[in-house]
């Protein structure tokens, strides 16, 4: 081919300059969502990153998921923009199909030997066109689709893959096995196939390493007690994830493997491979399965409202933010049964291939029931070949086979300079994987701050073409979004309709408009067809506008010539059951966007300086950890604490479940914070006002009578949380009733009453998981176990009863739950509508607390006389959250905790730029989790602080002085102070300061003379949309 796409040339140039020196700052090993986030964050802070992935494409397990809990966002839709960001980032070099062979050296100067496996395809020649795949005669099971469908021996890993390059499965290829076929090489027009390609070895020098190898799904085959290996209609949850997915084996139809029929009765079995002490199982809880199963149930019901879904479970562990509501949502659906029971697989019915499950309930005893399909909710195992991995990197593993970490810094490994992110630290969900990635960046930054920027490169774009004087030439790209849009909206019909609209010179469809391949096609089309406006009809500008604007720049036109029609959130998702009207609405939305696009004008963005100081609000462990990391990365920090002392909630915690001494750690941390020359601590601090924006905030801080102004570029919200003061169970009436924290303090202080107590009852879920607080406080189950173990250690004879609803000792905490049970702590489940009763009575002359609870096994009331009662009181939002939320314009969730920008992928960011979140201000969490998140928030903050300037939007207000009547209406309403009068030859006129304008447009609404306009949202642009929204009637009148 003569003409290579221009973008490709640039990438080659970039990689060319990379190749000159095999040195970087950091190597990220593992290209799942955690590795991707770590690479992006590191690159953004000016460090050069090698992202090494052993599979043929980045994306990891998240790329195989259909949707993500608890928001049911489409997994690929939110992850794939990050693939493209990585591939386009000038500071990231992606090495796929590459494994680490050896690591030498030490922190600051590692030498990593890599082995690039042969793809048998020259990556820089392959265009991803797929012709070779059409011609390849060999079918192979498709690994990406969990072997449920077939692919070819030469194929692309998945359709949005980055890099979009084919590879040959050497085990299956006829040529590589028997030198018999080379059709692919014959049909490739670009001469990209190299059947004699050899492995390539290279050595890279880096200062630090981030390990993000992720996890493996538990494989039920070896033990095969669930029939997975023998029964066709038993699938794992990861298989089912692919079955649900539009890009999956059955194109998004829920079918069962045996006969490709829609299963009607589906069963999920929880804890497969988890919470098991039998051979081949994992003792720990995998933490994510409860929520993902609920997600799968909700999605199944979305696909087929008549489906009968049955979930056989142990405890329901809905311990994360918004998980409780998610569980309730699944549970309330018609035809959904949650059954608490251990189960065993009965038999496969030979005629139907249905599968029976045996289970038992207290009410009905043992039963056997038949299901069309059985889904095994498999847990999370350590990554494959983990021992070998640990050996190569010289790190230690924990008893569970995951990475051994320091509980006070779960991102560090035993080897300095090697950090971890994601599920290698143990079973965690996507948001935690993402925040630990940003945390790993923060720790690498601490190590390498001195060389930041030395190897960094700036992104280069083709020169912007002036379109002045041209008629609008609009290109419309309509996205199927897999099946998200395509299943509801008739996309070809929308394309056809769009091609007939005024000014439209190109219209086409794409399976995923945001894939690298398609983004490149858009850029090419802009050049080839001379487009000067682009409309993408797909999803939301909130997640995808930056990507497509960037694509316009790649195509050589101003990014503000881009317009997005949201035919997913605004159309296919909300009108999924009315396909005809949905298609009509999609056409309406496209027509409106095309009309607006024709009027769009090129705008210039500009740079705002960044104040390189940070404000951290909250002096607990999260706030101090964040502050210390920022200071160690070379930034000045103001740390505010509302109390008289630093320490926050941790002052009341004495030991962790794992046995760490919290007070020693805390004192050491406080000492480091106080001594650090770049940290300015203010205690007794109250914020009275906040103004400004990212890079340039001003906060008024009051300390006693003194008030002062603090200037800072970013803010970290670490305001913590509080303990609920119970109003139930005689709390406050009897001094034998206390909260778990109070019990802990008494144990630590060697309280005599606690020491001499013979019996103690703990009641869980006090003040939450109820109507007032519809959430789980996450930490209380482990907290009670921790206290129970401590008490048993001191007095093994003590009678301890834990009255609980679900024991939520997720992850490795499960082992301590088991230990407590083994040491004789007794656990009794109670139901929300049958809470325990507590009475103060005298027994044998001695005052006792008589606790009455229904024993579900015996089905009758039990009375327990206790000397002490410990209440697992809820964690409630800090009283200052409302105030802080108003000052910084940050949303709170319905429970009063701060609401992050995106539950999954921006867990420590806010929608407002430059403000970050960590610790219990986000949601209740354990100390080590708060520390991880604090590093995460610091890492994200450094992506701003490390820059000298940030780019501000071009969509701001502008005054036409000729029309200005000097009424001052605009000046009066602008709280940014962005509009002021200035003298002109024609008198005093309003003028907009572009640095201060945020583009809200209130001034425009107030102007009586239409003299002020908001760029990118002009009256004419909006009128054109209104006119197109209701065009038929507009003509009548």
């Amino acid at each position: 081919m003569e003409e290579q796409p221009r973008e490709k040339e640039e990438i080659e140039q970039l990689s060319g300059s990379f190749a000159e020196s095999n040195t970087g700052d950091v190597m990220v090993v593992g290209g799942g969502i955690s590795g991707i986030q770590a690479a992006l964050d590191l690159a953004e802070t000016g460090l050069k990153v090698y992202l090494v992935e052993k599979s043929p494409a980045i994306g990891g397990k998240m790329a195989q998921l259909d949707k993500t809990f608890p928001t049911n966002d489409c997994s690929m839709c939110i992850e794939s923009p990050k693939f493209i960001e990585c591939s386009r980032h000038p500071n990231i070099k992606i090495l796929t199909y590459t494994e680490v062979e050896r690591v030498e050296g030490q922190a600051g100067e590692f030498r990593v030997a890599l082995l690039k496996k042969p793809r048998y395809v020259e990556a820089d020649k392959c265009t991803g066109c797929g012709v070779c795949m059409e011609y390849c005669p060999i079918s192979v099971e498709d690994e990406y689709n969990q072997d449920l469908s077939f692919n070819k021996a030469i194929h692309i890993y998945f359709s949005q893959a980055v890099p979009l390059v084919t590879y040959i499965d050497p085990e299956k290829c006829s040529f590589l096995q028997h030198e018999k076929c080379s059709i692919c090489a014959g049909v490739c027009k670009n001469d990209a196939i190299d059947l004699y390609q050899k492995p390539e070895r290279l050595e890279i020098e880096v200062g630090a390493i981030v390990l993000s190898p992720g996890y493996e799904a538990f494989d039920p085959r070896p033990r095969d007690d669930y029939g997975y290996a023998t029964m066709e209609n038993v699938v794992t949850s990861l298989d089912f994830e692919r079955i649900l997915c539009a890009t999956g084996p059955y194109a998004g139809e829920i079918e069962r493997p045996s006969d490709k029929q829609h299963p009607h009765k589906i069963a999920w079995i929880q804890c497969v491979g988890s919470r098991q002490v039998i051979e081949g199982g994992n003792s720990y809880c995998s933490a994510v399965c409860c929520a993902y199963t609920q997600k799968q149930v909700i999605l199944t019901k979305d696909h087929d409202a008549e489906a009968e879904c049955t979930i056989f479970h142990n405890d329901i562990r809905a311990f994360g933010k918004d998980f409780e509501r998610f569980y309730q949502r699944a549970e309330k659906l018609d035809g959904v049964r949650f059954i608490r029971s251990y189960v065993s697989i009965g038999k496969e019915i030979p005629e139907t291939k249905n599968v029976t499950i045996r289970y038992s309930t207290y009410e009905d005893g043992v039963k056997e029931e038949e299901f069309d399909l059985v889904v095994l909710s498999v847990g999370l195992n350590p990554p494959g070949e983990v021992k070998e991995l640990a050996g190569k990197f010289g790190i230690e593993l924990g008893p569970q086979g995951f990475c051994k970490t320091n509980p006070f810094n779960p991102i560090e490994t035993s080897r300095p300079g090697v950090f971890i992110s994601g599920a290698f630290q143990g079973p965690i969900d996507i948001p935690e994987s993402v925040m630990t990635a940003s945390g790993a960046e923060a720790l690498c930054g601490q190590l390498l701050a001195y060389q930041r920027g030395d190897l960094a490169m700036a992104r280069e774009y083709p020169a912007e073409r002036s379109v002045a004087g041209e008629q609008p030439r609009i290109g419309v790209f309509v996205c199927h979004c897999g099946a998200n849009i395509g299943r509801v909206v008739n996309v070809p019909s929308v394309v056809e309709y769009a091609s007939g609209l005024k000014n439209v010179v190109h219209a086409s469809e794409a399976l995923f408009a945001c894939s690298t391949d398609n983004a490149r096609k858009i850029a090419d089309t802009i050049r080839e067809k001379g487009l000067n406006r682009v409309v993408v009809a797909a999803c939301t500008p909130r997640t995808h506008e930056p990507l497509f604007r960037d694509t316009l720049r790649e195509g050589g036109i101003n990014p503000y010539f881009y317009e997005m029609a949201n035919i997913r959130e605004h159309c296919s998702w909300v009108h999924s059951r009315e396909k005809d009207v949905a298609t009509q609405k999609a056409k309406d939305l496209v027509r409106m966007s095309v009309a607006r696009a024709a009027r769009l004008e090129p705008l210039q963005e500009f740079q705002l300086p960044v104040d390189k100081r940070a404000l951290v609000i909250g002096g607990g462990v999260a706030g101090m950890t964040g502050a210390l990391n920022l200071a160690n990365q070379g930034f000045e920090v103001f740390l505010l604490e509302k109390d008289r002392e630093l320490g926050g909630m941790a002052r009341r915690i004495h030991y962790t479940l794992e046995g760490m001494d919290v007070q020693t750690y805390l004192n050491d941390l406080m000492g480091k914070v106080y001594r650090h020359p770049s940290i300015h601590v203010t205690t007794d601090a109250h914020i009275t006002d906040v103004s400004g924006y990212v890079g340039n905030f001003t906060t008024m801080v009051k300390n006693g009578w003194l008030s002062r102004e603090v200037h800072h570029g970013v803010a970290v919200i670490a305001t913590g949380a509080e303990e609920y003061k119970p109003a139930e169970y005689l709390y406050g009436e009897s001094d034998s009733v206390m909260t778990s924290l109070e019990l802990e303090e008494k144990i630590a202080a060697g309280d005599e009453k606690v020491g001499s107590a013979e019996s103690l009852v703990m009641i869980q879920c006090v003040g939450c998981r109820n109507e007032d607080r519809n959430y789980c406080s996450r930490i209380c189950c482990s907290h009670s176990i921790k206290n129970a173990l401590k008490l048993k250690e001191k007095n093994p004879e003590m009678d301890i009863h834990v009255l609980f609803r679900d024991m939520r000792t997720y992850g490795f905490k499960e082992d301590y739950y088991r230990e407590a049970a083994n040491r004789g702590v007794r656990f009794i489940r109670y139901e929300a509508d049958d809470k325990p009763q507590v009475k103060a009575v005298k027994e044998g002359g001695k005052p006792v607390l008589r606790v009455t609870v229904t024993d579900p096994v015996l089905g009758k009331k039990l009375e327990i006389d206790a000397d002490l009662l410990s209440l697992a009181a809820a964690v409630i939002p800090s009283a200052t959250n409302g105030e802080i939320s108003r000052f910084f314009k940050l949303p709170l969730n319905p429970d009063g905790f701060f609401q992050e920008a995106h539950v999954k992928l921006r867990p420590v960011d806010f929608a407002a730029d430059g403000v970050f979140l960590c610790g219990m201000a986000h949601y209740p969490k354990h100390l080590s989790e708060a520390i991880s998140q604090a590093y995460g928030a610091a890492g994200r903050a450094v992506t701003v602080l490390s820059k000298d300037s940030i780019t501000a939007s071009g969509a701001i207000s502008e005054v036409n002085e000729k029309d200005c009547v000097s009424c001052g209406g605009c000046i009066k309403v602008c709280k940014y102070g962005a509009v002021e009068f200035h003298e002109t030859p024609i008198g005093k006129k309003a003028m907009v300061n572009p640095v201060l304008c945020k583009g809200d447009g209130l001034c425009v609404r107030k102007c009586p003379a239409q003299a002020i306009s908001l760029k990118h949202f002009t009256d004419q642009e909006i009128f054109s949309q209104i006119d197109e929204a209701i065009p038929a009637l507009a003509k009548v009148l």
Partner: protein, 221 residues
């Protein structure tokens, strides 16, 4: 862009194009994502426009503002279903209120023409800015607001409608004008007399009809 950017002209444009209802969704008061609290101003806009709609004979329920936070997907769905249900109940714009298409056009155009003036009046005399949503609601429900509105806006609105009607070139008696626009006959006479004094309309005594100053007197067909 903030809901505070929603210009009354956008609302008028939508109704002029034949929309049966207009819904504006904004951030909750006190939860502005900018610092400008434009949502309070939006509430002012909506309350003002409701008064204008009522004045020209349209059901003010056709215009609605509701606060929905970014995390309130379920509330948003409920609100939208409610909005579309209510609008369906209200029926087609104009027809349901007994206004014919022609009169509706004049009325909405009259409102549109008056918007620059309303913006000036608004800044000086009407509607805040207030610090709370309650204050906005209280003010617009008050007698004071009603009086101010009558004094400042309603006369001009009526005159504007009459001028637009006459601008079509028809010769109409004051009674005909009152009937077409649905105004009180005595009010119409009052407006016409004062407009005639200002030279804005002329009265053709022979035929007992009013006409704009530029139009030649001629026999009615």
């Amino acid at each position: 862009m903030c809901t505070g950017r929603v210009d009354p002209a956008f609302i008028v444009r939508a109704f002029t194009n034949g929309a049966d209802g207009v819904y504006i969704g904004g951030c909750w008061p006190g939860e502005c994502h900018y610092t400008t609290e434009g949502n309070y101003h939006t509430l002012g806009t909506v309350l003002l426009m409701k008064k204008l709609l009522k004045y020209i004979g349209l059901n003010p329920e056709r215009l609605r503002v509701e606060w929905v936070g970014a995390s309130e997907g379920i509330r948003f769905a409920e609100v939208m279903n409610d909005v579309s249900g209510k609008i369906k109940e209200l029926g087609p714009l104009g027809k349901s209120e007994g206004i014919d298409d022609k009169a509706l056009k004049f009325k909405l155009e009259a409102v549109r023409n008056l918007l620059p003036y309303i913006k000036l009046v608004e800044k000086e005399r009407l509607g805040g800015p207030f610090a709370t949503a309650e204050e906005y609601n209280r003010f617009f429900a008050s007698d004071d607001a009603e009086r101010l509105f009558r004094e400042l806006v309603s006369d001009k609105l009526a005159v504007s409608q009459i001028m637009l009607l006459l601008g079509e070139g028809e010769r109409l008696t004051s009674g005909e004008i009152a009937r077409i626009l649905g105004l009180g006959p005595s009010d119409v006479t009052r407006y016409l007399n004062s407009s005639a004094r200002q030279g804005l309309v002329r009265f053709d005594e022979k035929q007992n009809v009013f006409l704009p100053p530029g139009v030649k007197e001629q026999a009615r067909a």
